[in-house]
């Protein structure tokens, strides 16, 4: 559905996107992860036609972004992470205004508004002024506005920031439901790894303008699914012995064992090697290596705003 090849973009000679290659399958939900300033919003801004690119090729739904921007925009919808509507208007007045900008009017506008109100479960507060609503209600309205044009592709930029658990859960359920029932392709950015894990079919990690990981959720989580054993000094013979087993990884001071079909066999092998080489165990992390740990590893953990 979305095909990006060699996409680059710079601001004041500083590259923000650097040779990005990415594709999103039709009807899938792609979780886009990245630390602040990684290039997520710039990527979405280019895909939605808000800003231009420097180089590369982008096609959306088989249409070329440079030549068919208007058509592409009419089949997409962008829900920014900010509450992008008018606080002094009621929820209904906001829906009516944004719907009119999509060219909707009369019965069609009413139908689309009704659909959006239902999806956002906003019936109880649709007549109220938005500045009197709770954070969760505002988030639902933000999403509902994005559904007015029945988009084939929905770009959601951190749609659950600052909402209570109930609203967050509702929004996530709605997103999955839209995807399953209407086959809407969704590009979803979030800082919450559990959300990405919960809703995504594909995951891409972007850092410093580059895609550092892109795969299906299952493949990524399988890679991440391991037991970590922290150890003290470990000599080369022990490292060699452990590395000879598929499914066992060795890093400095750490051994990780994938939870695959050889998991039990590998666990036994690891402890045999430890015993034979007199290696002491400092710590064992049972359970899964989470997406968050993987993300932090891929993006080098450090705080970007300190740079």
């Amino acid at each position: 559905m979305i095909d990006i090849k060699h996409l680059s973009k710079s601001y004041h000679l500083k590259p923000v996107l650097d040779n990005v290659n990415l594709s999103v399958g039709r009807g899938s939900i792609m979780g886009l992860l990245g630390p602040n300033g990684a290039g997520k919003t710039t990527l979405i801004s280019i895909l939605t036609g808000v800003i231009g690119k420097d180089s590369g090729e982008v096609s959306v739904g088989g249409l070329d972004l440079d030549r068919e921007l208007g058509r592409i925009q009419s089949m997409c919808s962008y829900v920014p992470q900010t509450l992008a509507f008018y606080p002094r208007l009621s929820a209904r007045e906001n829906l009516e205004y944004f719907g009119s900008l999509w060219g909707l009017r009369g019965r069609k506008l009413k139908e689309r508004m009704t659909f959006s109100i239902d999806v956002g479960s906003m019936g109880a507060f649709v007549e109220k002024r938005v500045d009197t609503l709770s954070g969760g209600m505002k988030r639902r309205l933000n999403l509902a506005i994005g559904l007015l044009n029945e988009p084939e592709i929905l770009y959601l930029d951190e749609p659950t920031v600052g909402v209570d658990t109930q609203s967050r859960n509702y929004i996530l359920k709605t997103i999955v439901q839209l995807n399953r029932e209407r086959k809407t392709t969704i590009v979803y950015t979030s800082h919450y790894m559990d959300e990405i894990e919960q809703v995504s079919d594909e995951i891409a990690v972007i850092d410093e303008g580059r895609i550092v990981l892109h795969d299906t959720k299952e493949a990524i989580l399988a890679h991440a699914d391991a037991v970590l054993i922290r150890v003290g000094e470990m000599g080369n013979p022990a490292v060699t012995a452990l590395s000879s087993h598929p499914g066992i990884g060795v890093e400095k001071g750490m051994v990780h064992i994938k939870r695959d079909q050889r998991f039990e066999e590998n666990m036994a092998a690891v402890f045999t090697v430890f015993h034979e080489h007199g290696i002491g165990v400092d710590d064992i992390v049972f359970g899964r290596r989470t997406l968050e740990e993987l993300f932090l590893k891929l993006t080098n953990v450090r705080l970007r705003d300190e740079e």
């Binding site: 808000v50 925009q73 997409c76 509450l83 208007l89 060219g103």
Partner: protein, 408 residues
């Protein structure tokens, strides 16, 4: 058709936003309405033919002669002054003490030699027959008005006394001496000059204050408009609109048209206040000129210029607080410079020249052409073109800045 519907919804949205913004309503409608009421009523007598304002003055007649008494009575009848008589032997110290303690502007002392001098005889010791004490708070123009009135009455008295002395000779020559005496009424006819034909229109405070405060309030659109625009930008609404295939130019035009309507509504309301409300409080009713086209042109030009300036400020300011401060300060400077707060005709020459730097002065001159000078479209064209040119420059700069910032 779709474009018209989008515009109608945009209009509705902007009107709802404005009417639900207490600050905007106050700045755009209530503030100018109150200013018009206050200034039209406060300055009513500055322009009025029959002034109810009189300047307090004292009169001391130290001469017992009839000419002196006649002169004092004539002076007491002056409409712009309210004379209070003191006893003839009031000392200068007492007069001065009363002037300063009661803020009395003038004291006229008719000296003992007044009648003698009027009779054409030497007044003794070369003393002048009148003495005028002036409070230092009096401006030179008011002082000149009273001095002129005193000299005029003195001249009449001298003239009449001369005719009286010649009375016998004139009778002998068969000349009616009464016809030679000075006219009580002024021989000068005052008529106002208008651009188009003659008009019975008389300059009044309301004719000055309605256009002045209307122009001022139209430019104050800079505050709500820039605040809305900056909020839309910071909340990501403009970005959302851009992603909906709404171009930068459409965003700008979509912002301008509703505010052109709002400025037009301001004009209608302020003119209505001048025509209907001000007279209810004792002021003069505003009368419109004879050129609706000229009026529409100047309203549209002022509006275009004010909106473009507002968009420019919205583009350069980073926060709503910055925009409010820049907008308010700029408006007050334009207003003070452009003759809104102080009419340019009371300014010294160099300040009158400086006033041309303010776009509010251009707008005000255009309105005065219509309201006061009975002008038409051709008369307001220079001011309108200047305002439209300023607006076009501001708009071009706004688009360049927005494009460079890439935030919209």
């Amino acid at each position: 058709m779709t474009g018209v519907i989008k515009l109608l919804y945009t209009l509705k949205k902007e009107f709802l936003l404005i009417t639900r913004d207490v600050h905007a309503v106050t700045v755009l409608f209530i503030m100018p309405a109150v200013f018009i009421m206050i200034m039209s009523l406060a300055m009513r007598d500055l322009f009025g033919l029959h002034s109810s304002v009189s300047i307090d003055a004292l009169a001391v007649n130290r001469d017992a002669g009839k000419p002196a008494e006649a002169f004092v009575k004539a002076i007491e009848a002056l409409p712009a002054f309210k004379f209070r008589r003191l006893e003839k032997d009031a000392t200068t110290d007492r007069i001065e003490e009363q002037m300063l303690s009661r803020d009395i502007k003038f004291a006229l002392i008719v000296r003992e030699n007044f009648s003698t001098v009027m009779a054409g005889e030497k007044g003794g010791k070369g003393e002048k027959p009148l003495e005028l004490l002036v409070n230092p708070s009096v401006n030179i123009q008011t002082q000149m008005v009273l001095k002129g009135a005193l000299e005029e009455h003195l001249a009449r008295l001298r003239h009449d006394a001369f005719i009286d002395r010649l009375g016998g000779l004139l009778d002998a020559a068969g000349i009616d001496s009464k016809k030679l005496k000075a006219d009580k009424e002024s021989p000068i006819e005052v008529r106002f000059t208008y651009r188009k034909g003659r008009s019975s229109k008389v300059p009044s405070a309301v004719q000055q204050s309605v256009p002045a405060w209307l122009v001022f309030s139209m430019f104050f659109i800079v505050i709500p408009l820039s605040n809305t625009f900056i909020s839309e930008r910071s909340q990501g609404t403009l970005m959302r609109l851009r992603s909906m295939n709404v171009s930068r130019l459409s965003l700008i035009v979509g912002k301008m048209i509703p505010y052109l309507f709002i400025n037009a509504i301001q004009a209608v309301i302020m003119v209505a206040i001048g025509m209907v409300v001000v007279p209810l409080f004792g002021g003069t009713a505003l009368t419109l000129g004879s050129s609706p086209g000229g009026l529409a042109l100047i309203v549209a030009s002022v509006s275009f210029s004010a909106i473009a300036l507002a968009l420019f400020i919205a583009a350069v300011a980073r926060t709503t607080e910055q925009a409010t401060t820049i907008g308010a300060v700029l408006n007050i400077i334009f207003g003070a410079l452009g003759g809104i707060m102080v009419p340019t005709f009371v300014m010294p020459r160099f300040m009158q020249e400086m006033a041309h730097l303010s776009p509010m002065a251009w707008g005000l001159e255009g309105f005065l052409d219509i309201f006061l000078r009975n002008g038409g479209m051709a008369d307001v064209l220079p001011e309108s073109l200047a305002l439209i040119f300023l607006g076009a420059v501001m708009l071009a700069l706004t688009l360049i800045i927005l494009r460079r910032l890439r935030e919209v």
